[in-house]
Amino acid sequence: MLKFIKHHLDTIAGVGIYPVISFVLFFSFFLAVLWWLRSVSKRHITHMSELPFAEDALTAGSTAVRDPAGLRSVMALLAITSMHALFAQGSAGAPPPADHLVHVDGSTLYTLLALAIVQAIFIMAMAGIMRTMSGPGALAQWLIVNAGRTGKAGVLIPFLLLLSLEADAQAYQVPSDKVDNYWVFWALIAVNLFLFVLMIAQIVLLRSMTRALVADNVKEEVVLVKGPSWAERMLQRLTRQVAIEKEKDVLMHHEYDGIRELDNALPPWWVWLFYGTIIWSVVYVVNVHVIDVWPHQAREYNEEMAQAKLDVAAYMATLTNTVDENTVALSAEAGVLALGKNIFSQYCTPCHGADGAGSETSVGPNLTDAHWIHGGGVKNVFKIIKYGVPEKGMISWKAQLKPAEMAALANYILSLEGSGSATQKAPQGDVWTDGAAPADSTMTTSDSIAITPTDTARMAVVQ
């Protein structure tokens, strides 16, 4: 399995897009986490962390409003470090794929780089402004004051993000006009997104700082009753759940051995899922069986074969060195014989023996003597390897071995002549001399696996 990953995964066309997709997904997720972190209220976090699992313990409410011990700062830190890990993974040495989703040229990369630099300048300017606004030493004071109120995280985030800017500098590479900048392109996109988020966070923080400074004298205790959040409202619309506290309203009157039932409504998301599958099913059947848009399996197969033929032909056109049974030549080159030996030991030994000579019980004939059943010499041996002798049990190898490999194998076999041991299989066939007409290599008179005809009256088939 690991060998498969190492050697063959990259032969799948366009496989490089998958890590990119996963990177974008993870990145978006962490962006969303950061956004939630910024938008969730401290009260909510406090409430959640103090929730007992059992609903009836809710009434024993909690009065302490704890700063959730920098919970948000911890989460922010985690989110940011994770994002960095992803960055490193995403832009580190992944090999460029053979196929590209987007073709990038130098000008695109320069644009992206410029955009990133502009954002970085803006962010640094904002940071400077915020420092100035708070006056000398006031920044530290502001930090202390706000740490209690909004939680450390709210303050830490922008600083962490600012710091992270430096780290990302390593992700930049010198762009060029070559198409290899696939990864640089995506890295730059990601960096730009990141900086954009950063900017937004800073603007929001600036706003709250401004408010804090301006509203210093006007302090009102306005207690806002927080209604259900957007998420809670959406969840309620999707599930139509009756809250546990109000369970008694939907409790049905009958009981079975103590088991009661609630009359909760069918969850809308479930109902729509059900309808959706039904609609999909109708669409599917119509497409396949009525209007013939989606293919039947026979047509799918024919199309696959036709496409494969085109692909292979296109590839073969790029090759100049093919060999077949008419063009194969005898060779004693060490590399050829070594390849042939390799193939022989992988495929041929079960039937022909490890030494090619076999023994009396071998399935296949002795390949080391001068006798050849279907003709010797490199052209005949190549032909036998390629097409096999099916009725004798010698399978055809043309689907498993390339022509060059078959040629090497044929040469190796011929190089074995005379090397058989004393226990080798007895010779079969005629002695082959070069220049003699090749024996008929396909049909033999007494086939060993042919099922001999029997009495013709034996089995009259009623049609």
């Binding site: 399995m1 060998k3 609903e55 009661r260 909760n264 479930w270 599958t277 029997t454 089995m459 009623v462």
Partner: protein, 710 residues
């Protein structure tokens, strides 16, 4: 005025104990099979080889473990939901002993090779009859109890029990229609494509109505009882029950995608499987949401932990199953270990954990004591969960990667993994991990056995539990006004009939056209019946369980036609009683193996697979070389085939053995040319004859007239 009566706990205890016993046995056989797949030397004898033991494993875990679990739960819950004792203690005992007899019969016959060759229906015809009788006894007992109930309305669990009973009866009877030729051998009435459709209409719905619906019923009883919480939604239980039992039946063909089954049937299988997602999830939702307000206790109570994981695994498996029914995904997953992983999420996740939760909840109550050790129950929970993960996850990887390897082509059009064995050896690590996962799971079960034993030892069986309830009064029309469904909840007979109609529709609409409309199986004129020797060989193939590792269905994919030959056509299988398309490729597909290798290759290969395929995981079948082929029943076999519609000449049975002897002599002669002194009366000759015949009919070029001389 209260009536006093007693619940029968003895029968529940009996069923519960054998559930545990057969659970251990069935899982151990599974572990043996798993080890055999990594250590082929562990195929120690003819009756201890993978092909013979795999059906024993499936039958034991499905019918013995899950089956007895169903009965234990049904007997306990039915009495209490209806506030009455079981209809008849005697019938209960007959049910119990009859079912155990079936299991023992299976344990004896399956390793001996007495099998029909159809998955989850391997038991031969005498046992099939026994199953029918015992099932009827169960039905009488169950329905008798329902009719003498003191609770007017049927709780949702009982709807599931009713649907289970009637559907299993229908499935079993229709799929088991077979023609016996001896006490231990029969032939499926159906052949080829039609047999495949009937088999998987049965097979998939064995999953649906033996592994799912009764356990949903048990879930609806035991989960709210254990959590002491009301069931989440009555409306949901109504909708998902009827939708489930209606839609499930149609899904059978999703086991036959991209096969020679007519495509309209395949499409029905796909779409109905997708439509099944929501109804199945209805069960999951009602289970999990019932735990609202009780999640605190899930932390502490092992019973609830088991139920939560069980229902979650149910939800996962019932999403995965429909997704696997999409043709594009099926093209990747079929015949691989992905399917095995999917099956076991459902089997050891849903069924296993549901059973364990039920056992831990029931045993203390039956014995009037506390569970011996909650800590050990928690240990079992974690071991079991770990076991599920180690079982399934490696097999997901193995299945997916092996499929990718099968499909890989080089740019110049060659299969990258031209040797099938290479792909198998690449995933051996996953197979070892599966052994580990299964072992961990079984260790958890042993922990449970110990815990249960200590609990039982500390308590005393409450064989008859006192209860009282008012009798059922005559109902006036105005008494009940409520949900419309209440109408059928108090009419069990109508519910039975309606359930049967609902589950029958899918079967009728899929099966009948496949049988009656001739164009579904186009005739191929060159396809001829098997010779007597080949027929014997085929029966050996079925006996040894070759279909458990080898398929006979080349799909219309380039990767398959390059590797195996022309893809399968429906008309090739018309004389195959039973069909042997197989469900898994631990070894290569054999549809076109005929003529590919020499007789001697097969002779060596079956004796010692590693001699021809170094590194092979296939067991050695040395007993085929010593066993003399039993030709005393050749005439009976041919006659049976004629009855089943195979066009042999009327006078052929009388000379069948002569033909057989000639053919085997010819094969032996061929072997002799290759230096093998083979005895022509051995079973291996018959098997070679069958293997050499497979898939060659459509290549036959000679016209019909002379083809009589095969």
């Amino acid at each position: 005025m209260m009536e006093r009566f007693q619940y029968d706990n003895r029968i529940v205890k009996d069923f519960l104990f054998v559930t545990i016993l057969w659970g251990v046995v069935g899982m151990l056989v599974g572990l043996i099979a798993a080890i055999q797949l990594v250590v082929p030397e562990f195929n120690l004898a003819s009756w201890f080889s993978f092909g013979r033991l795999r059906p024993l494993h499936t039958n034991a875990v499905i019918f013995a473990f899950v089956g007895n679990g169903i009965f234990a739960g049904v007997y306990y819950s039915l009495q209490r939901l209806l506030k009455t004792r079981m209809f008849s203690d005697v019938l209960g005992n007959i049910h119990f002993w009859g079912w155990q007899l079936i299991i023992v019969a299976a344990a004896v016959t399956l390793p001996l090779g007495m099998t029909t060759g159809k998955e989850y229906a391997e038991l031969e015809w005498p046992i099939d009859i026994l199953i029918t009788l015992v099932w009827v006894v169960f039905g009488i007992n169950m329905f008798g109890t329902i009719l003498k109930r003191r609770e007017r309305h049927l709780y949702v669990a009982i709807w599931f029990y009713i649907a289970t009973w009637v559907t299993v009866a229908m499935l079993h009877i229709v799929n088991s229609i077979e023609l016996p030729i001896s006490m231990t051998k029969s032939y499926s009435w159906y052949a080829g494509v039609q047999d495949a459709l009937v088999q998987w209409w049965y097979g998939h719905n064995a999953v649906a109505f033996f592994l799912t619906t009764p356990y949903l019923g048990l879930m609806y009883y035991f989960l709210p009882k254990a959590a002491n919480r009301p069931v989440y939604s009555y409306k949901l239980s109504i909708i998902h029950f009827w939708a489930l039992i209606f839609l499930y039946i149609w899904a059978g063909p999703h086991h036959l995608l991209y096969s020679a089954l007519p495509e309209w049937a395949q499409s029905l299988g796909t779409v109905f499987s997708i439509m099944l997602i929501a109804p199945s999830w209805g069960g999951m939702l009602n289970g999990l949401l019932t735990l609202r307000g009780a999640w605190d206790r899930v932390r502490e109570d092992p019973v609830l932990k088991f139920f939560v994981v069980a229902v979650t695994c149910y939800g996962m498996a019932t999403l995965e199953g429909p997704l696997l029914s999409l043709k594009s995904i099926n093209a990747i997953a079929h015949y691989t270990d992905w399917i095995i992983a999917h099956v076991h999420i459902g089997g050891i996740g849903w069924n296993g954990f549901m059973a364990f939760g039920m056992i831990y909840w029931l045993v203390p109550r039956l014995y009037g004591t506390q569970l011996f050790s909650k800590k050990l129950a928690n240990v079992h929970f974690w071991l079991g969960t770990l076991g599920i993960i180690f079982y399934a996850v490696p097999l997901y990887f193995a299945g997916f990667f092996q499929s990718m390897m099968w499909k890989q082509f080089t740019p110049d059009g060659y299969l990258v993994y031209a040797n099938f064995l290479d792909t198998l050896l690449q995933i051996r690590t996953a197979y070892w991990l599966r052994v580990l996962g299964g072992s961990i799971y079984i260790v958890g079960v042993f922990v449970m056995v110990y815990n249960v034993w200590r609990t039982v030892a500390a308590g005393r069986l409450i064989a008859n539990e006192e209860a009282e309830a008012p009798p059922l009064e005559k109902m006036t029309i105005a008494t009940e006004s409520g949900h419309w469904h209440r109408w059928i909840e108090r009419r069990p007979v109508q519910m039975l009939v309606l359930s049967l109609l609902v589950v029958g529709i899918g079967g009728v609409l899929e099966l009948v056209p496949t049988f009656l409309v001739k164009s579904n199986v186009p005739t191929i004129s060159s396809v001829k019946p098997y010779t007597p020797l080949e027929l014997h060989g085929r029966d050996i193939y079925v006996r040894e369980g070759c279909y458990t590792c080898h398929s006979q269905m080349v799909r219309p994919f380039r990767s398959e036609t390059e590797r195996y030959g022309e893809y399968a056509k429906a008309g090739e299988f018309v004389y195959d009683h039973p069909f042997q398309w197989g469900s898994k490729r631990t070894g290569p597909d054999l549809l076109r193996v005929g003529g590919k290798y020499s007789h001697s290759w097969h002779y060596y290969h079956m004796f010692d697979p590693t001699s021809m395929s170094p590194g092979s995981l296939m067991p050695a079948y040395t007993h085929l070389y010593d066993a003399v082929l039993d030709t005393s029943n050749t005439r009976d076999k041919i006659n049976a085939m004629i009855t089943l519609g195979v066009p042999y000449a009327a006078d052929f049975p009388a000379q069948a053995n002569k033909d057989l002897v000639m053919q085997s002599a010819a094969i032996a002669a061929g072997l002799k040319k290759d230096g093998i002194e083979a005895l022509s009366d051995r079973e291996i000759i018959a098997l070679i004859a069958y293997l050499q015949r497979m898939g060659t009919d459509i290549k036959a070029k000679t016209p019909v007239a002379t083809l009589q001389t095969r």
